[in-house]
Amino acid sequence: MKRIIFTLSLIFTNTLTLWAQDKIEVFPTVPYDRFIIFHTLAIFWIAIIGLIIIIRMKLKEIERIQKMGIDKEEKDIPLLD
């Protein structure tokens, strides 16, 4: 009986590995690696949002200066040097 159960379980596990071979893993399977990847993705988005805020602030400042008209160079401006 023990032998039959052992043989059946062996066949079952072998078949399982065969099924598993059908699908090729395209993403790291180790939980720790997965955690690091999702963690990095969250940090990446924080960095993107931060950069967008900085560029937006810079753009607002440029538009404010353009509205005031002090961004244009004056002709024949005396140079100090």
Partner: protein, 354 residues
């Protein structure tokens, strides 16, 4: 040599001041439809991303039918971040084609192709065609059963064109059927021929945009226009959108990495319910609408001829739309554009669901 000296060294040899003056004085119109201007910039950004990720993948990919599939599995499973670069390349390509379609349709509906911008339309349209061929050639490089069957169907479809069909089919396949020779051929297209043509056409397209300036929709052309400097105003806005697009591509690549099927076997039967890539679905679905034989003629051949005529008409729209070139509103071509768009979307959805 410090930075100032290096700067002086270059300025003594090249007129950077002129270049700076040029960028400072370049103005772009700002209006309610300006959002469509960004689609061109997004496409350019995605093309750049494709070039970078493609170069990285080319270091490890083996373009030989016996090793191609295995080399991709090794890139994905064994190389550090290999899965990520392959996924970025896949999603970058998908998004580039989506944005290109949006860019083409926005150009069509805003009549930006009208005189004197006909060559802008032609160069852009050829770029769209090349991008689709990029997709098809890249798809076969996987050398899995789905890609193999899809390329067999696509090249077989081209073979139905009268007179030149068989030549195109044989030229693409490198023989009678899809074999290892087709893989080598598609690899050459994907990494050398198409990138060279693309770079040339992008250069021409950008030069033409600089030469003609941004197009303003007909409805706003006669109204007083507000303009903003390209640098830094529009450039910074472009940068923000590029960052968002990069975020989307990276997120999609991480959460939905593309699958790899079983290795292609030329002798095995075609897998059931095989479908081409989404941008070919409307063609695939149209072919299904036609019966095998129409008045004694091959139905598939008639379908391919009709589809080719439809695409050719779309390509030559700037020459047919006389009203827009005279500066008059042309509702007929707006409706034609809408019909093309609805047909494409409906057929793609049906093809996806069926």
């Amino acid at each position: 040599m410090n930075c100032q000296r290096l700067k002086n060294w270059f300025e003594e040899r090249y007129d950077f001041e002129e270049l700076k003056r040029l960028t400072k004085h370049k103005l772009v119109p700002t209006h309610q439809y300006e959002i469509w201007y960004y689609t061109g910039g997004i496409t350019l950004f995605l093309f750049g991303l494709q070039f970078i990720t493609g170069m990285v993948l080319a270091f490890y990919y083996i373009p030989y039918f016996e090793h191609a599939h295995k080399s991709i599995i090794e890139i994905v499973t064994k190389l550090n971040m290999g899965w990520f670069f392959r996924s970025l390349h896949h999603w970058g390509a998908q998004l580039a084609i989506v944005v290109l379609f949006i860019h083409v349709w926005s150009t069509l509906l805003l009549k930006s192709y009208r005189k004197p911008r006909e060559f802008l339309w032609f160069s852009g349209f050829i770029l769209l065609g090349i991008s689709i061929f990029f997709g098809l050639s890249g798809y076969l490089l996987l050398w899995d059963e789905r890609a193999f069957a899809a390329v067999r169907v696509a090249t077989g479809g081209a073979g139905n064109l009268p007179i030149i069909g068989n030549f195109i089919k044989a030229f693409l396949r490198g023989g009678i059927d899809v074999t290892g020779d087709t893989l080598t051929r598609f690899y050459a297209f994907h990494v050398s021929i198409l990138p060279l043509i693309t770079l040339f056409l992008i250069g021409v397209h950008i030069l033409l945009v600089q030469y003609h300036g941004m197009s303003v929709p007909l409805s706003l052309e006669k109204k007083p226009q507000k303009q903003i400097p390209f640098f830094p105003n529009l450039f910074y806005k472009d940068l923000i959108i590029w960052l968002i697009v990069l975020g989307i591509v990276v997120t999609l690549s991480t959460l939905l990495p593309p699958e790899i099927g079983q290795k292609a076997d030329p002798l095995a039967p075609t897998p059931e319910n095989i479908k081409p890539e989404w941008y070919f679905l409307f063609l695939f679905q149209t072919l299904k609408l036609f019966p095998g034989e129409i008045m004694g003629l091959n139905g598939e051949m008639i379908a391919i001829i009709l589809i080719s005529c439809g695409i050719l008409f779309f390509f030559l729209i700037p020459l047919f739309d006389r009203k827009s070139s005279r500066g008059e509103k042309s509702f007929l071509f707006t409706w034609i554009g809408i019909i093309y768009f609805v047909y494409f979307v409906v057929m793609t959805v049906i093809g996806f669901l069926s």
